[in-house]
Symmetry: C2
């Protein structure tokens, strides 16, 4: 893929046609404020997320630094014609584009990457010339929506897996071109390691993996055996031996052969790492494999599970082991503690809900020095925008748990009040009052771009730490895998009034 298709032209045509409208009318430098937010947490069908993990911000800023209208990009626009065959873009507009730095007038305030986030809360506020802010839309949505979606899924898998190692191995099933973003988001959201070699290196984590069925198949086709395949592998990786045991028959062939090889390793002073199960009833096979490994004295050997895993499947496997292990005289918790989860398709595609649906909306435009709030009135109350220039805050109670996010107008300072009123975004009957005493208020946004990148380079460790700290401060009901509690996102009374005045003005109805 050439840079022509990954740079500033990774955008929707209408951003460019609207840009020309703004340019022609002299509106292109009007200060405007756009917000990126999503409306609903992912609903995977049988299970639902109670929060999201924000990801993709650093890649977006990197893209913004590189994207520009060079001669090749301008040539593309010059080639575009109207229906009657005239040039779609006028020379003066193109010349202006070529002279300008596409995002040098913008200021971005954003939630930090890796943090827990909630619906309706602006995750990025983009302020600056109308044309520049509009032009950022497509790339911003493309980069933030997907990574946030995958990091969220990874966080749920992390949550259900307790301290088990989670291996992302979804590259082959990821959307073409999205494998690296998927791995990045998976590692931020909860995966410990990934099979994806290049991006793991860039993020400072060593890639991991076992071996494929093809190794065993090739040996058998050449007249050798599963045992010989295992032995060859162990000889080359005596300290990293994890063996895939389901090519022939797990309990009759794979595990016994693995044990033979493990015994050989042990005699030579090496410690075998694990076996991998990739098909069949993973709970049953885990128990029976654990039993065979225990008898042979390999109580510490991992059991790596793979095959269409997600948070719900893992939960089901753990439940089944809890119910059945005793029947085999085994301790269920000890089996579960030795499990490692290899997660592919369902993580990198966010199976059940493969798009987040985050949006980027203009909420205010400045005129003669004053911010004029903008709104869009749709059919449903939930889809009406929260207008105006706003701030976002998170409230923590005395236990240190996050209890609500609060949106206020920018000129408000909720920290100066003794009692905060939290209004539901659309239902006038729902409101709550909170005493500021005993409540901690945290501003959620920080400035990450002002004409150029301001956010200093961050590491995977930082994003992971933010995620972990935030998830630990969630109410357990919000973290629940199925039917989670709704976390409150509220409006200040002033913002609520502004929103409803605007709706009334536009629709004539209160």
């Amino acid at each position: 893929m050439s840079s022509l298709t990954e740079g500033i032209l990774l955008t929707d045509e209408y951003q460019l046609t609207m840009a020309q409208v703004y340019f022609r009318l002299g509106l292109h430098e009007k200060p405007a404020l756009f917000e990126y937010f999503y409306r609903k947490n992912p609903d995977y069908g049988q299970h639902q997320a109670g929060y999201c993990i924000f990801a993709g911000l650093n890649p977006l800023l990197d893209w913004m630094e590189e994207a520009h209208f060079g001669e090749p990009e301008l040539e593309v626009l010059r080639s575009q014609k109207t229906r009657t065959g005239k040039p779609l873009f006028a020379p003066d507009f193109l010349e202006w584009l070529g002279r300008s730095n596409p995002f040098d007038g913008l200021t971005l305030r954003a939630v930090s990457e890796g943090r827990v986030v909630h619906p309706q809360v602006p995750l990025v506020a983009v302020e600056g010339p109308l044309l520049q802010a509009q032009l950022l839309e497509t790339a911003l949505l493309n980069k933030l929506n997907f990574e946030t979606l995958v990091a969220t899924k990874a966080s749920r898998i992390r949550d259900v897996s307790d301290h088990a190692i989670i291996l992302d191995m979804g590259l082959r099933r990821a959307a073409s071109g999205a494998g690296n973003a998927a791995t990045r988001a998976a590692l931020i959201g909860g995966a410990d390691v990934s099979s994806n070699v290049g991006i793991s290196y860039e993020l400072g984590v060593q890639a991991a993996g076992t071996h494929a069925h093809s190794l065993v198949q090739a040996f058998i086709a050449l007249g050798m055996s599963e045992l010989e395949a295992f032995r060859a592998y162990a000889e080359i990786y005596p300290d990293n031996t994890t063996l895939l045991v389901d090519t022939v028959d797990v309990l009759e062939s794979g595990v016994p052969n693995a044990i033979t090889v493990f015994e050989e390793l042990r005699r030579k002073g090496h410690k075998p790492i694990g076996i991998r199960l990739d098909s069949g009833d993973l709970a049953y096979l885990s128990i029976r494999s654990a039993q065979l490994l225990d008898v042979a004295g390999f109580e510490d050997v991992n059991i790596v599970l793979s095959s269409e895993l997600d948070e719900l499947v893992i939960w089901q496997i753990q439940t089944q082991i809890q119910q059945e292990a005793r029947r085999y005289g085994l301790d269920a918790d000890r089996i579960i503690r030795r499990l490692v989860y290899g997660i592919g398709t369902r993580l990198v595609t966010s199976w059940g809900q493969p798009a987040l649906g985050g949006v980027y909306k203009v909420v205010a435009v400045q005129d003669e020095g004053n911010w004029k709030p903008a709104i869009k009135v749709s059919e449903t109350a939930e889809k009406v925008l929260n207008p105006g220039h706003k701030q976002a805050w998170r409230l923590y109670d005395e236990r240190g748990l996050a209890t609500a996010d609060l949106l206020t107008l920018s000129e408000e300072d909720p920290q100066t009040k003794s009692v905060l009123t939290l209004r539901h975004p659309s239902d006038p009957a729902k409101l709550r009052r909170v005493r500021l005493e005993g409540t901690q208020l945290e501003p959620l946004h920080s400035q990450v771009w002002q004409g150029h990148r301001q956010l200093q380079s961050e590491t995977l460790g930082i994003w992971r730490e933010r995620r972990q700290k935030d998830v630990e401060r969630l109410d357990p009901g919000v973290r629940r895998l199925v039917n989670p509690h709704t976390y409150h996102v509220s409006l200040s009374p002033r913002l609520w009034d502004l929103k409803n005045q605007m709706i009334e003005r536009l629709t004539g109805e209160p």
Copy 2:
């Protein structure tokens, strides 16, 4: 994203650890045969595909030409350590990798891009040194699985849309990095145009689009009106005016304002293009908008629909228009013929089934000049591989309709027989006999790579033509949106016998 993460290291760690095993054992140059195929057509939940459209082949070949182990890639592998801190990869292996051209020993036979394909049929057969063939797996799966999935969805949308224009506008909701592959697959599979600027240009199609709600919102926030926003847009694009009419109120504001502007355009000798509806009851609003446009004499103006469309939603909209139009004194077919479909999220994510699940399996290894078939025996009959060195054929009946795909051993020539026996891949009771007379047999594979790319550069027009021709030769039951007929993919008796002998040998059971 650097080339380090998009080149040869866009792979799973285990490909490299297995490669070292093969190298160490001197098996790395053993000729092997791997096949890429998928097991089941996509099932979107309420609706199911009866076929797929094969896509992604040309991008794969492009990637193969570029990917190599340069010094930066080798440095990544040199940095990898075992659990005990020793180098994971030995210097002689890395030196050998650095000297070799990763895919120069391979031959690829493949189905042509854009063609209709079916489960179990090898879409690509990769023959050559075991190490090279294994190393191709991850990238091949990543590039073919996704584009095939999206092209399939686009073909279904094409089918239900008859001759209507289909606009891909999913970039913002595509997985990060996958937007261009998604657009490419959408254009192959059935979309006429895309909003995605850069890749559209590279594929030789002009990008298309309308405008966003933000245009209208910005005007209103600045004290102007929806009408003024429309007028400004139409003044700059008098021959390309499509107006988004749902920012305020479709029937009370958007359509009447659009008509005012269309009348102004008409007076100046321009032809307005369309209106766009992006929310609400699209069927109802289409009828009512058509009614208003007709009265004003704009019978030819398009009605562009967007908002979570897919093939099922489009079908439902058409059905509802068929049922309701008469009530408003309108001709349903005329309304449907003026619709244009803007498809976003559900196309680029293949909503309902976001991964194809195609696999890449070793089916034979050569030893002393003879091909030894390889097999993997899983729990379910459907998952057992079809072993050996094979060919794939398509059978057409006297009407020219495709009736079955047939897999044979490579040394068989089905064209020399008078009656063909078609065996079900796993059910011994199911077989069918077909007279060769009146049957046309088409070989499905052609050679696309031999050490380097052999397939000549292809164009979008070719891929689209192949798709259209193939879809037209499908039985209507196979094209059906919901519960399609199962297209037969059969084995020759000799292949069937080989498969069952191998299962018997491995499991001891017939």
